[in-house]
Symmetry: C2
Subunit: 551 residues, 2 copies
């Protein structure tokens, strides 16, 4: 391991009249003899500990070192050999969820992973509310900063031994890092988008009020919308090292996109629309207990899986007939969701027989629903509902809607909103590839980061034209690549050079400045796309599901 921290066991030669070197020099010399090549600084609080610790330890000590960007700093000194306990923390500072991992820095093993809600949520689930809450108000900014730090601390408290960890790497978007450092984040959204700090680098943990011995490294951001979480994702996926061209897509309220390989890196970001996080759809909700996260239309019925129920348990919204078979495959994706839910509610021990009733629909459910509506022909290529196709399609509040679960309706407006979102996402990828001189099908790998990549069905996302129609195995759920990249750096400080290289090579594309952006977006508003030929497998599926359909 060549990480951001080191623990080195030293057997110091005893001071004698012939060797009256100072304790300080004795340690530094012995470190050098043990192969330490870089400069080492011993801060005063450690100098104060040397006596009587060295005597008590019979001159056998373990020195803990944290890298601060230019040199090692001794952050702890202990009696005897404690090198076996060498911990570090990787943190994904998400705007909704903070996830932290305790790493064994001797072997890279993940000792424990925990998460908690970002305590900023008290000022709004959307980032803008939070930014406006504390805009130009030092006291409120301090509240938000403290809530951010406390979110990390809550994770640390759940992780045993985390307070004895030496270093921490945090990856988060530009706003999250501004809040963590206590900086007003209005700049992120306000033109000309010159943020206050994009490369905070190594900061003393205590300066951030994080109870850690050493330094906190915050991943740098490329621009206001392309934050440290994406740079961390680059380090995780190693896109910048590969021969083949990859697309890296992080879709949430905003979509961040990187396309490239070892020779070039283009990046961009755009508002993908809150529809994906259930923010606009009338019955939309977060991927939480009670949310419909999977949808299948079968024999005219709508089967839904609800978060909180066992993975093979689903509920049926009867159309014309009764469902014959459970399709277990479609609900499998949801398993992880529930496991998390069960962990969260471990103390309560949810009764397995209890059925959670649906309360709304989350992003993955929406994508499934629209894909299924389309494949069944209940909506046309413009996404318009055809009431003649199912009794579940009704008119309410002067517009058409489909009842996807008892008393829960998905409206025409919701569909329209969502299609705008998916077309924005599609268009961003299309433009970026075009800027690289490539067609959509020339991307070799398609990484989807975050919750979207984890929970959304690849098939459904292709069906609606959100993902390109490519080899499914080349569509990769990058998982929490922000967290993974944080972990990688924690364990390998040579990646700091890679980060510099990535930032230097990355070219940021302003979508707003692309002339035909709107034109392309309109073309992408059809299902799956105006240009049907881009989606051959979707055409196959349509033919299979709607016998005799004319394409």
């Amino acid at each position: 391991m060549n990480g951001l921290s080191r623990k080195i066991y030293l057997e110091l030669p005893l001071p004698t009249e012939d060797d009256p070197r100072s304790d300080q020099q004795r340690i530094l010399d012995t470190l050098a003899a043990a192969g330490m090549k870089e400069l080492v600084h011993i801060p005063v609080h450690i100098l104060r500990k040397l006596y009587p610790l060295l005597d008590n330890a019979k001159w056998k000590i373990t020195v803990s070192l944290a890298w601060n960007g230019e040199k090692w700093e001794v952050v702890e000194i202990e009696e005897g050999d404690t090198t076996a306990q060498h911990y570090g923390l990787a943190v994904d500072l998400g705007s909704t969820t903070v996830v932290a991992r305790l790493l064994d820095c001797n072997n890279g093993a993940i000792l424990k992973e925990v998460s908690c809600f970002n305590k900023q949520i008290q000022w709004g689930t959307d980032i803008l509310s939070r930014i406006f809450y504390c805009k130009d108000n030092k006291e409120k900014l301090e509240e938000v900063r403290r809530a951010t730090v406390e979110s990390i601390c809550e994770c640390m408290d759940k992780l045993d031994a985390s307070h004895s960890a030496l270093s921490m790497v945090v990856a988060g978007n530009t706003t999250m890092i501004h809040f963590l450092l206590g900086m007003d984040a209005f700049c992120v959204f306000y033109t000309p988008h010159a943020v206050h700090a994009d490369r905070p680098g190594f900061q003393l943990a205590r300066d951030l009020d994080i109870p850690l011995k050493g330094y906190v490294y915050c991943y740098p951001s490329k621009s206001n919308y392309l934050g440290g979480d994406i740079i961390s994702g680059m380090i995780d996926t190693e896109l910048y090292k590969k021969d083949e061209i990859s697309v890296f897509f992080d879709i949430g309220t905003n979509g961040e996109l990187v396309i490239g390989n070892k020779e070039f890196l283009l990046c961009g970001a755009g508002a993908a629309g809150p529809a994906l996080e259930g923010g606009v759809v009338r019955t939309g909700m977060r991927a939480d207990v009670g949310a419909v996260d999977e949808v299948k239309i079968c024999n005219g019925n709508i089967d839904v899986h609800v978060i909180g129920n066992p993975k093979d348990k689903y509920q049926i919204m009867h159309g014309k007939k009764t469902l014959q078979d459970n399709n277990k495959d479609t609900v499998q994706n949801c398993a992880q969701n529930i496991e998390e839910y069960l962990q969260e509610n471990a103390k309560g021990k949810i009764e397995e027989t209890m059925e959670i009733t649906p309360q709304g629909i989350c992003g993955s459910g929406i994508i499934d629903l629209i894909a299924e509506l389309f494949l069944e022909g209940w909506i046309d290529i413009r996404g318009k509902l055809s009431p003649e196709k199912s009794p579940l399609i009704q008119e309410r509040d002067n517009q058409l809607c489909v009842e996807y679960a008892p008393g829960l309706y998905f409206y025409q407006k919701d569909i329209d909103e969502f299609i705008r979102t998916k077309s924005a996402a599609h268009t961003m990828v299309e433009i970026m590839l075009r800027e690289s001189g490539l067609d959509l099908n020339q991307a070799d790998r398609f990484y989807v980061a975050g919750a979207f990549g984890k929970h959304v069905s690849k098939e459904s996302a292709i069906t609606i034209g959100m993902y390109p129609d490519m080899d499914r195995d080349h569509i990769i759920n990058a998982g929490n690549s922000s967290l993974e990249g944080a972990q990688k750096l924690l364990l390998n400080r040579s990646l700091l050079n890679d980060i510099d290289q990535i930032l230097e090579e990355m070219v940021y594309i302003q979508f707003a400045e692309v002339e035909d952006f709107l034109e392309l977006m309109v073309a992408a508003q059809a299902l799956p796309h105006t240009d049907y030929k881009r989606y051959p497998t979707v055409m196959e599926k349509l033919k299979e599901r709607q016998k005799g359909i004319k394409l």
Copy 2:
């Protein structure tokens, strides 16, 4: 100026859509464009200040930077151009007195110099008492540390604008630096003399509880007895750069000695004996108000100057006759003493007519007294009092003594003690020169540092054989070379390399291991020395004062 701090005025280009660099990057880029070559770190507390400061300042700011050993750290950021106010502090952390200078770091001018007693004195005037007071007791050590810091803070309070200073350089002996940093200092005196830290380097001022924006640099020590004050003296006198060979001597309770030139440096230290600081002599006292600091024997009378009295005012201890003339020359040295006293007591405005009566005798007085006793023949070459020479020589408490002021007696034992001290000092110089293959008269310059060099009469010190009998102009009062060296470094950080070089080149001589040390010391116990030929000018004076003396 190429000092430990910089203030740079920047007119930042305004952020635009074409130039949306972060504030942080904008500052770093503009600093680079202004010629900043080294790495610059912006800590989080400064990042927090960027907004709205940059806006308010209309992007015209002054950046304050402090050197931390490897890179610059931004320690302050201000609106507009404040480069004219650029301050730094040089501190001599003496065991008795702390002296601090406020420097204008733009031009090196000394804006103000102040001093105060080291608050450690409450635990004893001698260092050992202080060391034992807090030995192995964390709470008491913290008391001593705080007293040390408070002494520096008291000086800072007396210096206007000192709190806006950026950097501080402190020079002090090894014990003082241990106490400043909060380290047990018993190691300094306890064999094998492996101290806890000898190169503390740059530490954050706030980590030392010193109210300063940037860093505090503590001069490193060569060994337990050869502290940062001496290394600082090297930087001041530039002994290590010269062709000719110099002797640098700092005489106090301990004597520290460096001999060398640009090709070699030998150093050593030894107990010179507390006699020099009035610690052993029965009526000895510090060079404070009421102390006899100059002595002249004239026509059988002893004329003394007392600190606190005007420089030309003296008191006469009548022997046989009445004094005819005031010898103004001999009291001139004392002028500075009084000026200091008057400054200290400025508020009280001492009445000029009031006569301070002598309370005891300080080091410079003792050396004068012994020199005069010797030149007058009142003591012989072994320092033995001859009662037949003056009615002022009497027997009290079963030993001879001389009444140098009304009711104040200097005893045979005091003389003997002092002669041991002066012979130790002489022998140290002799051995060091011999180790360099040189005779006493081959030293080209003889620097005497500290209060001793400042107050002691060169003639008297030569007369008793403490200094070599050399060209008086080559005996140089190095003054507070510890403070001067601190100032030089503050204003020129390239001297950090010189310090490394000095520490590397210096060879420490253990006097205790020199075989014939005792033998040489015995030879040096005669006045001025057993080997009369070493002191030709003293011989001349003897002949002049004692007509017909047989040498």
